[in-house]
Subunit: 222 residues, 2 copies
DNA sequence: ATTCTATAGATTATTTATAATCCGTTCAGG
DNA sequence: CCTGAACGGATTATAAATAATCTATAGAAT
C-alpha cells in the first residue's frame, strides 16, 4: 500500500504532511482548538513522528498552530480581535501595494478582470469556497504586482485570519454588493491612479472586516 | 559534563539550540550564506540531530535560514533589494504604529526619552552594537504602543533585515545626526499629533534605508 | 469533606539507527 | 581531450525505540 504512494512521491514526507494539515485547517475541517496528536497523525498518513513534528513546526511558523512544551499542538484560536487587527494591517499593506502596482497594471488589467468576474459569478451562486479562492487570487495579484517580495511575504502571513473572516462572514453579508468595489479598484489601476487605487483598497478591506460577524460567532477560548 | 547542563536546564534542547543559533546569526558571527550542518551543530551542543532540525525549522519560519531538501540549511542571504523592500514595509507599518500609539504616549513619553538618550550616548561613542540594541528598543516601544498584536508580530518579522542594514551601515553614516529624528518623533507623540508622528517615522526609516551602503557592501551571492 | 500524594496512561522530547539523496572524483570509452 | 557512468563520502530524511513530562484518578492522611 505504501508502494503506490512511494511511486508518486514528489515532495518529502514532511511536506506532504504539512500540505495535508494546511488543507484541512484552511478548509475548516480542523477547527481552531483541535488537538493535533503527533503519533495519531503519523499513523493516519503512514509515516513516523519526525516528519509530523517538522510539519507542525512549519505550521507554527505560519501562525496556524500553537504548541506548548510537553502538551502538544492545536489549531490556533483566532479571536475577533486578532481578525480586526489583521485586517487593519492588511488594509495598510494593500493600500501600499495598490500604489506600487500601478505601473504594472496601467492599461493591462485583464487578469484582474478575469478574477473579478469569477468572484462575481461565485457571489451570485452563494458559493463561499469558490468566492474565497478567487477573492484571495484577486488581492494576491495586486500584491504581487507591487514587485516587492517582502511585501508579499508579509501579506501572506495574514492569510489565516483572512480566510477565517471570510468563512465566519458566510451568509451574513451580501457578497455581490461587497465585490463591486473590485471594479472601481480595477478602474483606478487601469487609469494609473495609484493613490486612488490604494485608498479604495484600504476602504474595501477595512469595511469588510467590520461586517457581518456577531460576537457569538467568535471562536471561543478553550 | 552533561550533568551540569542538565541541572541548569530550563528550556528544551531545541529551544536552547534555537537561541544559540539566533544569537550567533544576529550578532553576525554566522554570516549570511554560512552552512548549518545538523550533526555538526548537534555535536557542538551535546545533543542529537532531532532538536537541531527543530531549531532550524523554527529559524526558517523566522526567515533567518533557508533550507533546500537534501541539501541542508544556510543562513539566509539578504540582498540590498531585500533590505530596501523591508524598510519600505517597515516605514509603512511604523507610520501606522505612530498614529495608533498616540493615545498611549500623549503626555507620557518617559520611556521613549530614556531609550533615545541611550541611543544618543551610544552614537557619540560610535558603539554600533549598543546603538542598534537601543534603536530597536525605541522603535519597538512605539510599535508595542499601538496595542496591535498582529502589527507587532508583522514588524518583528522584519527584524533580520533591519539589523543587517544597521550593521552594513556601520561607519558609513553619522549616527548622531540620524538619531536626532527621534526627538521630533517623541515631541509629536507627546503632543498627541499622531499624523505627524507617523509621517516623521516614515521619513526617518525610509531615509535610513537609503543611506550609507554602497553596492560593494552587499552580501554576495554564493 | 478536603487536600495531598502516588500511580498509570497518554503524549511529547530526545536519542539512536537506518535509508535516501547529493556531489565530487575516478576511470572507461570514444 | 572530452564525456558520461559508477563509486564513495558526506549529509539530510525517516524510522524506531527510549526517556521525560503531563494529566487525570484513586486512595490516604488530616
Amino acid at each position: 500500500m505504501a508502494d503506490k504512494d512511494h511511486a508518486l512521491q514528489r515532495d518529502s514526507m514532511a511536506e506532504r504532511v504539512k500540505q495535508d494539515l494546511l488543507r484541512r485547517i484552511m478548509s475548516g475541517e480542523l477547527r481552531p482548538g483541535t488537538r493535533l496528536v503527533e503519533l495519531q497523525i503519523a499513523r493516519e498518513l503512514n509515516t513516523s513522528q519526525g516528519p509530523v513534528r517538522e510539519a507542525l513546526c512549519e505550521l507554527e511558523g505560519l501562525e496556524l498552530v500553537v504548541t506548548e512544551p510537553y502538551k502538544g499542538s492545536r489549531v490556533r484560536e483566532v479571536t475577533q480581535q486578532d481578525i480586526r487587527e489583521a485586517y487593519l494591517i492588511r488594509a495598510t499593506l494593500e493600500k501600499l501595494a495598490g500604489e506600487l502596482a500601478t505601473p504594472r497594471f496601467q492599461g493591462s488589467v485583464a487578469d484582474l478582470k478575469k478574477a473579478a468576474t469569477a468572484i462575481l459569478s461565485a457571489a451570485r451562486k452563494k458559493d463561499i469556497a469558490t468566492y474565497t479562492r478567487h477573492d484571495i487570487t484577486f488581492h494576491r495579484l495586486i500584491v504581487e504586482g507591487a514587485s516587492n517580495r517582502i511585501l508579499l511575504r508579509t501579506w501572506n502571513s495574514l492569510a489565516f485570519e483572512v480566510r477565517l473572516q471570510l468563512w465566519l462572514s458566510r451568509g451574513k453579508i451580501d457578497l455581490v454588493a461587497v465585490q463591486e468595489a473590485h471594479w472601481k479598484i480595477i478602474d483606478a489601476l487601469d487609469k494609473g491612479n495609484g493613490k486612488l487605487a490604494g485608498k479604495l483598497l484600504h476602504e474595501h478591506i477595512y469595511e469588510f472586516s467590520r461586517s457581518g460577524v456577531s460576537q457569538s460567532d467568535a471562536p471561543q477560548q478553550k
